[in-house]
Symmetry: C2
Subunit: 463 residues, 2 copies
């Protein structure tokens, strides 16, 4: 397929505002439209496509939203060939022009060989690379060396609830006849060297609310005579992590697997230029050495503080004491941490800190997402096949890496339908997933399709 045509399709798909995070009806309509565009394209390739309706979803505030349908598609049914199942998602993170984007995030914009747009790398671009790889065989009138199945969903950024339910329903239907599942929803460790990922972190995402009353206060009238909910939050969050990233919650490191000598060597072998990594990320300085950085990413848990709701967030001066605030943070889990143990440790710790403040406010903590971590056996067939495909297309050995991001669905695939997973990322480290000015390099997008074509051929050999 002509590279220009591929970019045209990516432009059309990026233009859909398929934000699954913000609960406005507009975004849900866009998500449903996105899924239906994908279903149409797959039907055009001759796939048999099922668009699975999964009803609606109840939000914590009582609002009900339609769940975008999950697409289950099949191409080829030859019992002599292996069946490779691809999983991808077509929902995106929130994005808004002006908030740090140099262009409208929903208008694919090419600058210096980089294709900028929300979803370009996470995960719309890689989904299209898969579809293009399949259509390449069709275009050349060649037989596909493998049977293909595709699972495309629209709630990945909010925990893939819909899909988990569907897997339980289709456990004996769509899912059994596949050899393994491939996910291309991650990034290489560097800008130029392909990688295979054999583990991802788990995640516990917490929401802490501190409430005095539902309305705000005039700080001139009430300042100094009451416990400010924001001051309580500042104290609570100040007790979570120190300035070197060490988590201060008692017991949190108890479950962390000790570092083996073998792993330390693995880290040393990885070809990461820390200075270049810092420059690419536009970060002045990461913690410590290359090995320390890799261990902080893969070996130790980390704690990140996210947004705050309920305070005045516009420019300008407002003399107000917020009456009720909600702040979010998450802890990334590493082997062998367990979601429910972490949940208890966090709740106990914050309750202790809050009670010592003697605040008249009310605090509530909830864990709004808890996803277990995932690890793979790199000697499995699909890793061997992918390694050979990379050597053929790029002429080098892939980095064997782990990733701090959670792809909860990988663990769910293993647990519910007992299929093993291959993580075959197509994007470079600086693609900016979840951030402003997300992009995919045109080179990665095009070479990614070639890599997948090679992978289909290697998959046939290693079946």
């Amino acid at each position: 397929m002509d590279p220009k045509l591929r970019r045209m399709t990516l432009k059309e798909w990026v233009a859909v505002e398929s934000d699954s995070v913000q609960p406005m009806p507009h975004f849900r309509q866009e998500l449903v439209r996105m899924m239906s565009m994908a279903a149409d394209m797959l039907r055009g390739l001759g796939a048999s496509v099922h668009s699975m309706d999964l009803g609606s979803q109840q939000l914590p505030d009582g609002q009900s939203l339609p769940i975008p349908p999950v697409i289950l598609a099949e191409l080829g049914n030859d019992p002599k060939k292996p069946t490779v199942c691809f999983y991808g998602h077509l929902n995106v993170q929130p994005a808004q022009q002006g908030e740090g984007w140099f262009m409208d995030p929903y208008t694919l914009t090419e600058v210096d060989g980089k294709l900028y747009g929300r979803g370009s790398t996470d995960n719309t671009g890689p989904v299209l690379a898969w579809i293009h790889a399949v259509s390449a065989f069709r275009a050349l009138e060649q037989d596909l060396p493998v049977n293909i199945k595709l699972i495309l969903e629209g709630t990945e950024e909010v925990g893939s609830v819909a899909l988990e339910e569907l897997m339980k329903k289709e456990k004996d239907g769509f899912f059994p006849s596949m050899d393994y599942i491939v996910i291309s929803d991650d990034l290489w460790l560097t800008r130029t060297k392909p990688a295979l990922i054999y583990g991802t972190g788990g995640n516990c995402y917490f929401m802490v609310e501190v409430k005095c009353r539902d309305r705000d206060f005039h700080s001139g009238t009430f300042g100094g005579i009451l416990n400010e909910p924001v001051a309580d939050l500042v104290a609570l969050f100040g007790s979570l992590v120190d300035s070197s990233g060490h988590i201060l919650i008692p017991g949190i490191y108890d479950q962390v697997a000790p570092l083996m000598e073998e792993e330390r060597k693995l880290y040393e072998a990885i070809d990461l230029d820390l200075e270049e990594y810092q420059n690419n990320s536009q970060v002045e300085k990461f913690f410590d050495t290359k090995e320390e950085v890799l261990m902080h990413l893969w070996q130790y848990p980390s704690l990140c503080i996210h947004g705050i709701e309920g305070t005045f967030d516009e420019p300008g001066i407002k003399t107000v004491i917020p009456g009720r605030v909600i702040r979010k943070f998450s802890i990334r889990l590493v082997p062998h941490m367990n979601v429910s143990v972490v949940e208890n440790q966090v709740k106990q710790h914050l309750a202790d800190v809050f009670s010592k403040r003697n605040s008249a406010n009310r605090m509530t903590i909830s864990m709004i997402l808890g996803s277990q971590l995932w690890t793979a056996n790199i000697n499995d067939t699909q890793y061997v096949a992918a390694g050979r495909a990379i050597r053929r297309v790029f002429g080098i050995e892939p980095d064997m890496i782990r990733d701090g991001s959670t792809i909860p669905i990988a663990k769910i695939f293993q647990d519910i339908i007992q299929k093993s997973v291959l993580m075959l990322p197509l994007g470079a480290v600086d693609e900016g997933e979840h951030s402003q000015n997300e992009k995919i390099n045109r080179w990665n997008y095009i070479e990614g399709s070639k890599l997948l074509v090679a992978f289909f051929e290697m998959a046939e050999l290693h079946s």
Copy 2:
């Protein structure tokens, strides 16, 4: 005037979205429209009205916005009568339907004798009460016992910059021929007992920015390997104030005037039912006793943490590390604290705390507003006249109180044009200025005009 007619005017004026805080052109247009409506009404009463154009204002981000004109009006010019000048503002704090308001904040809504709407108490309602008091004499074809001047402005919530400049220009023009200036931009201490205010706090408003890079990060990819700007902010803000409201910035209490035995007795005499005050404010518990609460309001400085810019502030889950965040806080000044001393103490303290963290991020602190405090001599003519007017209309002694809110213009009036000030509040303590569901009691609004009529008569006697 028929009370219904008064509410109708208030409804029309509240409907104007005269928000001076948010820098969008729409709000500035509304502000300009508001000022022109007020000018028209005053001309209708026979006043000579000057609408003073003050050019435009440069925001920190480079944007330029028109400054709403200041209205200078005069009614009567009899050298035998005293000249009372009223100062009020017609701009309002930001307000948005859905963000805690039970109605559209710009649609005046009466429930149980309460007139809800943005500006109803701060300061549109009191401005109209003044105009209604003047028009009452006109309606009865009676001579006004005093000459009236009015100064109405539109930037009070952002520091009255426009007015300060005008005063310097009109120092020898509009301003000399007045006996004193009356401001009705504050609240009583209770729901039912009128008060006179003889002092207001100063304010130092700070903005702290911590920046790693301009874009956000994916927390899965970058969590644990860098200094998070939000974590730096949490540590900085955690060093500002303890859970009992005590400010932790070194030296900050050095300038605070010691408590005199006489003042302690004044506090004891004030008729404040702490439990009722808490109930009215919907606050579980203020700090300590009635005397402690009053001292925290008037005798000690206080520190409030306001909004944050740059984090994800919507509901839902977003796994993001904000790359650049701005957080605001303010310190209320009490006698004899000085703006520039406080500015230095704050900047020094935060720089010390930040440097101990060894963070790779950049921190910038700026004081975006610094207003000196104000106190009055309660034996001045205007206080004596106002006290008599209150006794006549309400049959009781007013509470003599101070207010933590800043009314920077009072201090500026004293300093630049050397006129003394009377603060004659019309609203009750629970009107909710700056908060959601701001209101003015219909009773306060109507009796307020009556009080002003009586005040004009007393002012003639005490001239």
